[in-house]
Amino acid sequence: MKHTLSILLQNESGALVRVAGLFAARHVNIDALTVAATHDPAISQLTLVLHGDEGTLEQILRQLRKLVDVLDVSSLSLMGGFGQPALAAHT
């Protein structure tokens, strides 16, 4: 199942590499990634798409929250599978 994560990240040297590196090290593929500035120049917003089961999602969320630069992570999972996707938000 596909999951979309929203990550708020401090703009520190190497912060993006640490997020991407976490996925590589935990053997989870990133299907899509966009990085955008926010109104606060010290903070970036990452939107990231991965696929995996609920256990994979839960573990990667918890591991992301261990990264010092990560301010917040939430999962916006595309639920469903019968052609009627619904948007459900977890934290």
């Binding site: 590499v17 010092v68 301010l71």
Partner: protein
């Protein structure tokens, strides 16, 4: 103050007494600042306030800092130069992360203007270490140096401890800045999550649910890990275990959290755990997991781990460890000691009492029937006998460091540990070469303590240059080399799972004269023990040496580590070997099937 002076001042302010490191071009300003600091600051004995210990290799510095941290509970500090200095530190940093050891590593870096230019001794340390450390800082703004260093110590110590790397370009070390004395980085995300975990309290309903399950249990068991050591919760664990009469098994990293001679202590569980600890895990109907993480050396087959446990409860400081390997019925993310005290207090107020006489009798019978044993009748010196001989003298009070392999497992099995932080081993990473430098670090943490490195011929060779460091600093370290002329653990696996094809292990470790190597490095008391009848007297003489001493013991090259729960096997399939009675004859090892799970 220059950046280099700021580095040294923050180290001193954070309580650092000993630094482990090797100098080089990009870290010269910091080393100069250490020299100048020590010229001005002497302790009561006229010694350097910031003692600097120089290893043979930066990997040695990293493991010394790790050994210092493991033995003392403080933050171990390593200071190295850029490029190869920093990359030589990668293994100890990853090792410290895997075992949750607090360290701060300070690396010199090429000047900011040269970053990315493939400069001399340049390496992308933030990238490399980013995957290995709890956190990495590359300090490109000199005004942030002081706050960054102080925050590095805070990160290393707090929550689940770990190593933090601070990469400092040479121009930042030379930049003059005002020194504030207080500044930290904000790290708001980390702080918010840390505060939530540190203030998490078990409410009455949490306690009630746990105690209901415990009250129904007839065979409850505690599985305690390295988190109990890291959080200083061993006294709380012992009180909790005593209050309820709860027996405990410990992981490799948790050895010493219970006094191993306590009747309620069942020693180590897992791949090479005691048979009675593993049978207790098989038999328990309730499992309380404290600061442990169901590592694959413990729960190789998670579904078959503790198969009769109707209720598994887990307390850990790291939310990511809850449910990572094995689903649990009850979990609390928070401080271990405070949580155990809260549960015990609630239980007292409720008058919870357990009737565990049958369970205690069952475990006592398991301990008697399946006690640790080995080939005592062999004419060859058995490695386990060497450990028993040392243990008879040290009585669980020595600090024991090891390399990785068979000697490590025999040490875990046959030494007693009266207290935590007496057992220093590379548990998760399993890094050969860890023992000697870790023991050096521990000896600096406890100059008056009996520190013993029990090493293997394969492991000690990996950092054998540090023998000279022992002599240089006149450390009273005792080094026991159990020489079986080869990589014994690899041979054991090749024998069991590769039909005796001794690839690589047939090629090395046959020629080195370790005694002459120790003597050449300045260790005057260096002997080889080959006759079984000399064991007791030689060990006594060796341990009584006032200064450094090196004892090579030529041991049975075919001695194996048993019990063994093979890779991909459950505890019910444990092989107890020829000298420990098994509860049931284990099924034959299926070599082809085992290799599928093999790592």
């Amino acid at each position: 103050m220059s950046g280099a002076d700021i580095v040294v001042q923050v180290l001193a302010d954070e309580g650092t007494k000993v630094l482990f490191g090797y100098s080089g071009g990009a870290i010269l300003p910091v080393y100069d600042a250490i020299f100048r600091y020590n010229a001005l600051h002497r302790d009561a004995g006229g010694r350097d306030r910031l003692a600097l210990v120089v290893p043979a290799n930066e990997q040695g510095a990293g493991f010394m800092a790790s050994g210092f941290a493991r033995a003392s509970g403080g933050v171990g500090v390593a200071v190295v130069t850029s490029g190869p200095g920093a990359t030589n530190l990668v293994t100890p940093i990853r090792d410290a992360l895997a075992d949750s050891i607090p360290m701060v590593a300070i690396c010199g870096q090429v000047p900011t203007a040269a970053l990315g230019s493939d400069a001399f001794q340049e390496a992308p340390v933030a990238n490399i270490m980013g995957a290995c450390a709890k956190h990495v800082f590359l300090v490109t703004d000199a005004t942030q140096l002081e706050a960054t260093l102080r925050t590095a110590f805070e990160l290393a110590r707090s929550g689940r401890p770990g190593p933090v790397v601070v990469d400092i370009p040479k121009n930042v070390q030379n930049a003059v800045q005002p020194f504030d004395g207080e500044r930290h980085l904000p790290i708001p995300g980390y702080r918010r999550r840390l505060e939530a975990v540190e203030h998490a309290r078990l409410d009455d309903a949490d306690c009630e649910r746990l105690l209901d399950a415990l009250a129904q249990a007839r065979r409850p068991l505690i599985y305690a890990g390295g988190g109990v050591v890291a959080s200083g919760a061993a006294p709380a664990l012992r009180a909790f275990s005593r209050a309820f009469g709860l027996p405990a098994v410990t992981s490799l990293m948790g050895l010493g959290v219970m006094d191993t001679r306590d009747p309620l202590a069942l020693h180590m569980l897992g791949m090479h755990g005691t048979a009675y600890a593993n049978y207790a895990v098989e038999d328990c109907d309730f499992l309380l997991v404290l600061g442990a993480r169901f590592d694959d050396r413990v729960a190789g087959v998670p579904d078959k781990f503790a198969p009769r446990a109707k209720f598994i409860a887990q307390i850990d400081i790291d939310p990511a460890e809850v449910g990572k390997v094995k689903a649990v019925d009850w979990a609390h993310v928070g401080q271990l000691g405070a949580s155990l005290e809260r549960i015990a207090h609630y239980a007292r107020s409720r008058g919870v009492r357990l009737q565990l006489d049958d369970w205690h009798a069952h475990l006592a019978a398991l301990k008697r029937a399946h006690a640790m044993n080995y080939d005592r009748a062999s004419p060859l010196i058995q490695p386990q006998a060497v450990i028993e001989a040392i243990n008879r003298q040290t009585q669980g009070r020595a600090i024991i460091a090891t390399g990785v392999g068979q000697h490590q497992m025999w040490s875990a099995q046959f030494f007693d540990f009266a207290e935590p932080r007496h057992w220093l081993t590379s548990g998760s990473m399993g890094t050969m070469g860890f023992g000697l430098p870790a023991a050096i670090g521990a000896q600096f943490a406890h100059p008056g303590a009996m520190v013993i490195d029990v090493d293997g011929d394969g492991s000690i060779r990996m950092n054998v240059g540090e023998l000279e460091t022992v002599a240089t600093y006149g450390l009273p370290l005792k080094i026991v080399l159990l020489n079986n002329h080869g990589d014994g653990m690899v041979r054991q696996w090749q024998k069991l799972f590769f039909k005796g094809r001794y690839s690589a292990t047939d090629k090395n470790l046959h020629t080195k004269d370790f005694v002459r190597a120790a003597q050449a490095d300045g260790i005057a008391w260096a002997r080889r023990l080959e006759r079984k009848e000399d064991l007791e007297a030689t060990v006594a003489e060796f341990l009584a040496v006032a200064g450094p001493a090196f004892l090579e013991v030529v041991v049975d090259p075919d001695a194996g580590v048993y019990p063994m729960v093979g890779p991909g096997a459950s505890y019910a399939q444990m092989i107890t070997g020829d000298f420990i009675p098994s509860r049931a004859a284990p099924p034959p090892v299926d070599a082809e099937a085992s290799t599928m799970h093999m790592f």
